[in-house]
């Protein structure tokens, strides 16, 4: 067993536990975006970072293991500033109107509009290439959950992948092919984990009045 201190509270847990799991077991909530409890933590979004005494940089709690005697701060001013900035950057370039979890976090961390000038919102045409669900990548925060679900976390279909770099980084298929021409089997397990409403069943999309059946 390992003993560590999270926000001055003594926490005891098994070796191999992540800081995130240890904190949650002690009732301390750490915000996260790309992390999903059923999936392998990708450590991408950095929203779950925490301050660890002696560490040079903030550490992503979802993929950092606990160590004996570790002293962790989950809500220090430094941590809060980083979280706010991450949310502002996402909000500046993505349509977060269908991302309820992020809306809550934005309110909590006091996200300000317009701190970043000259930013561009991602504006992709809605991909509507199959009878079952639509992909609205203007709402995509590239958390990668859908790619994980499609590959080795659940479905083993490997139809979705990431493409592009920097601002152009996005979720796509091999060679940008329409879904019916890929290995996609339309299980829709990706829709289930999408946190920002980028993947929506067609019937649900129609119901919100954005498209016709």
């Amino acid at each position: 067993m390992i003993k560590l201190y999270i926000n001055e509270k003594e926490v005891v847990c098994h070796e191999g536990t992540t800081i995130l799991q240890a904190a949650e077991s002690a009732g301390i909530i750490i915000p996260k975006i790309c992390y999903h409890e059923k999936l392998t933590p990708p450590g991408l979004c950095r929203q779950c970072v925490v301050e660890v005494e002696g560490a040079r940089v903030l550490l992503p709690s979802c993929i950092t293991g606990v160590r004996e005697g570790m002293k962790v701060q989950t809500d220090s001013p430094r941590v809060k500033r980083v979280r706010k900035t991450i949310l502002e950057m996402l909000d500046n370039c993505t349509d977060l109107s269908e991302a309820p979890e992020l809306q809550i976090q934005m309110k909590k961390y006091g996200v300000e509009n317009g701190r970043f000038r000259d930013t561009v919102k991602r504006d992709y045409p809605v991909k509507d290439d199959n009878p079952f669900y639509i992909r609205d990548y203007s709402k995509c925060i590239v958390c990668g959950r859908c790619v994980q679900v499609c590959s080795e976390d659940i479905q083993f279909s490997y139809a979705l992948t990431t493409g592009g770099r920097g601002f152009e980084n996005r979720i796509t298929t091999n060679f940008d092919k329409p879904l019916p021409e890929t290995s996609c089997v339309f299980c829709g397990n990706c829709i289930e984990v999408c946190p920002s409403g980028a993947l929506v069943s067609r019937r649900e999309y129609s119901a919100t009045g954005e498209a016709n059946d």
Partner: protein, 699 residues
């Protein structure tokens, strides 16, 4: 953000996996479906059918009022669409149905009825159906589509072990060490199980052996693919057993303590060498040896199979040869082992459990056992027939011989699902009365006299039992369309009226006010169900039978201590090759089956978004064969057997081995069952859907 009127937890209506669903309802439509991540058996996973395929429930062609054929009793029975029927009140339709049933009963007795219960309906619907048939119609002529799917697995496992259900649970799959998949295109027919099995390989390092003539998707993650000639399964399994015995790889302790018949069985294997099997099956002897060593060498190894094993004129032998392997190696009664027929329909396990078979009451209690008969007579207060009834194809035969004049069909579509379609239609035309209970007017309903509109899974309550014997709830999510009623309510009304017309004094007890009450009567009569109630399932999300008492936890895997028949019995088997063989005129072997996007007779999936992605049938053919025949991809071709012919689009793919064609049986316009034959297994009476000799020509 989408707002929902309500979210209702239910069970998927498609396959035997029994995925738990949450139906999201808006304006009386299911607009999306999700899966609760914490619930067995699917733990948050769904496939395309469960996720997107439940929209058939609000299709405009749903039956909403009772229908009566306009020209009843015309000299010739012809199939008609909705325009051939008139709408009627429930009062008129039920009264007329009861009158006609009573008339036949008075003239010819109960044996004149052939009845089909339904593997898509609930346990409670099926319990009432068989109670109606046995206590009111006084016959055991009741059967359902299980006859066409796992009858041979049931027959084989009953002989070897005394029980017919899948032995181990789905939850064990991801932790497997070694497993065989044979005659199951798992990723298309049981997609969520497909993901669990792939997980075992990719994450747990499990070894998978696929034994199947087709290069199905599961072969992508297989250690070994044995691609046998269709119909030669027994040769392969016997040769594997030969290797296991010859190389002393068998489990001596298990054989001594848990089995009987080993000595004569092991002697019978002498001649079935891998070399001999190579000649018969075209699988290399060394691959058979490797497969045997992998299976026997594992601490725990499981076998999963589907229609490729059971839908055969040798289906019972196929099953027995698989059971022999498990008994030899002691791969039974522990986690990660087992003999696991993957059940097709959402409730095919439950329909059989609830007595939808001609030889048994609910709980597989024999109709000819006097003690059992007395128990049911006491409960139902009726004399009951000890004579086992007819199976599906025997009922069809009995129309020809004049014994059966009336069909009562609940939610099945025999015209599409039975083999040798022209034969089936010929028999339908000869019937005097056809009463249908369904949610749509399907190909069989078009021959009906009276059609009674029923509720879909999304509008009623009850239970489905999935492939691993887990009893789970469905709950009303949508309002009933029009005047449609639950099957159990329709049957209860009908039963009361028929009894009145026959002037019977005492009632057999059709006074149920809810499915939960029906379950309780069944649980009272079936020891394995005694600890299960709707309330308990609601609390625990699902319970695996056998569950003999309220404090029993349920049984995820069977045979831990003993087999229902006591000891597991080895069977010596000879290879038989009685299927149709390819010949000069019909040089190809046709195999039939399903695809990911459709379900059986397509009554549901043709009325769903699913149809948009796979709108018509195809025939799969190996590239070398296509070249030989001078045929091009996607051109229309005519496929014919001696029984009929169909036009269908060609799909050139090396999924099919040379000499073998594959056609899904879903499409009425290109119905594979026009080509299949009604040759059947002598024990299980299951037809040989997987082997027909055909030819293929340019259109």
């Amino acid at each position: 953000m989408t707002e929902y009127d309500r979210i209702v937890r239910s069970t998927c209506p498609y396959c035997g996996v029994g995925c738990q669903l949450e139906l999201h309802i808006q304006n009386e439509k299911i607009i999306s479906a999700t899966a609760p991540g914490d619930r067995a058996p699917n733990f948050g996973r769904l496939c395309v059918k469960g996720r997107f395929g439940t929209d058939y429930t609000h299709h405009k062609s749903r039956l909403t009022k009772p229908l009566i054929r306009k020209n009843l009793d015309a000299p010739e029975r012809i199939p008609i669409g909705p325009e051939g029927f008139r709408e009627a009140s429930w009062e008129e339709a039920l009264d007329m149905a009861a009158e006609r049933i009573a008339r036949t009963y008075k003239q010819s007795g109960g044996s004149a009825f052939g009845t089909f219960c339904c593997a898509k309906a609930t346990n409670e619907d099926n319990y009432i159906f068989q109670k109606f048939v046995r206590s009111v119609l006084q016959t055991n002529n009741i059967d359902h589509c299980s006859r066409l799917c796992h009858a041979a697995s049931v027959a084989g496992l009953s002989k070897a072990l005394g029980s017919s259900a899948m032995s181990n649970s789905l939850a064990e799959m991801k932790d497997l060490e070694v497993f065989i998949v044979t005659g199951s295109n798992t990723t298309e027919t049981h997609p969520v199980i497909g993901t669990l099995l792939k997980e075992a390989v990719v994450k747990n390092g499990a070894k998978l052996i696929v034994i199947d003539p087709r290069k199905i998707e599961m072969t992508d993650c297989a250690t070994l693919h044995l691609q046998q000639k269709p119909g030669t399964d027994v040769a392969l399994f016997q040769a594997m057993a030969h290797v296991i015995v010859k190389e002393n790889l068998y489990n001596r302790d298990f054989i001594n303590s848990r089995t009987e018949g080993f000595d004569s069985y092991s002697k019978s294997l002498d001649k079935y060498t891998p070399r001999w099997a190579e000649k018969v099956s075209a699988v290399a002897a060394k691959d058979i040896e490797t497969a045997a060593r992998i299976y026997a060498g594992a601490n725990a190894a499981a076998i999963y199979w589907g229609m490729g094993i059971s839908q055969s004129v040798h289906g019972t032998d196929n099953t027995l040869s698989i059971a022999n392997l498990a008994l030899l190696c002691g791969h039974l009664g522990r986690r990660g082992t087992g003999l696991n027929p993957l059940r097709g329909q959402n409730n095919v396990q439950g329909c059989s459990d609830s007595g939808g078979l001609p030889n048994v009451y609910p709980g597989y209690q024999n109709v000819s056992d006097p003690l059992i008969q007395a128990k049911y007579e006491h409960q139902w207060k009726r004399d009951l027939s000890p004579k086992p009834g007819l199976t599906i194809l025997e009922m069809s035969d009995a129309i020809e011989s004049g014994q059966i004049s009336d069909y009562i069909i609940m939610g099945e579509n025999p015209i599409m699902s039975d083999p040798h379609m022209s034969h089936t239609i010929h028999h339908f035309k000869k019937l005097k009365n056809i009463l249908v209970i369904d949610i749509f007017l399907n190909e069989s309903g078009e021959y009906g006299d009276i059609i009674l509109p029923a509720l879909s899974f999304a509008e009623k309550e009850g239970t489905f039992t999935n492939s691993d014997r887990r009893v789970q709830l469905i709950r009303p999510a949508l309002q009933a369309p029009g005047e449609a009623r639950a099957d159990w309510q329709i049957l209860q009304e009908l039963a009361i009226r028929v009894d009145q017309k026959l002037e019977r004094k005492n009632s057999a007890g059709f006074t149920f006010s809810s499915p939960a009450e029906i379950w309780d009567e069944m649980a009272d009569l079936v020891p394995d169900f005694r600890g299960i109630s709707h309330r308990r399932i609601d609390k625990e999300s699902g319970v695996h039978w056998p569950c003999p008492s309220v404090d029993h936890p349920g049984t995820p895997y069977l045979f831990g201590e003993t087999f229902p028949r006591g000891k597991g019995l080895f069977h010596s088997i000879d290879l038989k090759l009685e299927s149709e063989a390819a010949n000069k005129e019909y040089p190809y072997i046709l195999s039939t089956g399903r695809v990911l996007y459709h379900w059986h007779g397509r009554t549901m999936t043709s009325r769903s978004d699913l149809n948009k992605i796979y709108p018509y049938g195809k025939v799969e053919m190996h590239p070398d064969d296509a070249e030989k025949e001078g045929l091009a991809n996607r051109e229309n071709v005519e496929v014919s057997s001696s029984r009929g012919s169909i036009t269908v689009e060609l799909c050139i793919t090396d999924k099919s081995p040379r000499g073998v064609l594959f056609i899904p049986f879903h499409f009425a316009e290109a119905a594979a069952n026009r080509l299949t034959q009604d040759l059947r297994d002598p024990v299980a009476k299951i037809p040989d859907f997987k082997i027909s000799a055909v030819k293929i020509e340019k259109r």
